[in-house]
Symmetry: C2
Subunit: 105 residues, 2 copies
DNA sequence: ACTATATTTCTAGAATTATCGAAATGGAAT
DNA sequence: ATTCCATTTCGATAATTCTAGAAATATAGT
């Protein structure tokens, strides 16, 4: 997880609809939800939903798997940990240390 | 930290320039950096930089404090922990549990 | 082939966001 | 008051993103 991938993930999760989708999927566990299942819960038009889902797939945050006519969506395990790891490790380490401006860079 | 504030923070951090600013500031520790110091490091025009900084301030991710003519910027302690906490707690708990679609909601 | 269901792609307009120069503001020094 | 420095606000333009209806695609059943 480098800064560009982190920015990509953060940006995608920054959209309220997409964050709601993502949260729904994480809570749905490994089985995930179908696109239609998400649509029923969030009540957004299919095309809009598909657009947002494709964003999340593109960012590597979720995965789709076809099962007959339905597409199951579930989170990509590990990506969230990687993102949080980036935020904590790459960004937030040593916040309490007596660092000064000359340390940055 | 509710889902709306989380989305706000994620959205602001999702911009590469803003994420770079934020990372710079976290690494600069409690002292932070001046706006000019950030500008020298990131080499973006002052007006553009100011625009992005005001976004980060608006989202509550960073704080500005005036010291004479210069404005020191530093991260808002705790917000990052809150955000990570939201992501892990609100989103990611029980990922390994044998939940199914009927569990969500 | 036809029908139905699930989902995506196409398309276009609306809304938002990014960029940056010019001008303005806030504060310190003479 | 004037000048200088640091930063913001203004304003205009370019680029991106959001939204959603219509059409298309994929799969399954008859």
């Amino acid at each position: 997880m480098d800064i560009d991938h982190a920015a990509k993930c953060l940006s995608e999760l920054g959209n309220p609809t997409r964050l709601a989708i993502f949260r729904l999927l994480v809570r749905a566990g490994a089985t995930g939800l179908t696109v239609g299942g998400i649509q029923k819960r969030l009540n957004v038009p299919a095309s809009t939903l598909s657009h947002h889902i494709s964003h999340l797939v593109w960012a590597g945050l979720i995965v789709q798997e076809r099962d007959g006519r339905t597409l199951h969506c579930h989170t990509q395990p590990g990506v969230m940990d990687d993102l949080v790891g980036f935020l904590m490790d790459e960004c937030c380490k040593g916040f309490d240390a007596d660092s000064d401006a000359s340390r940055a860079g």
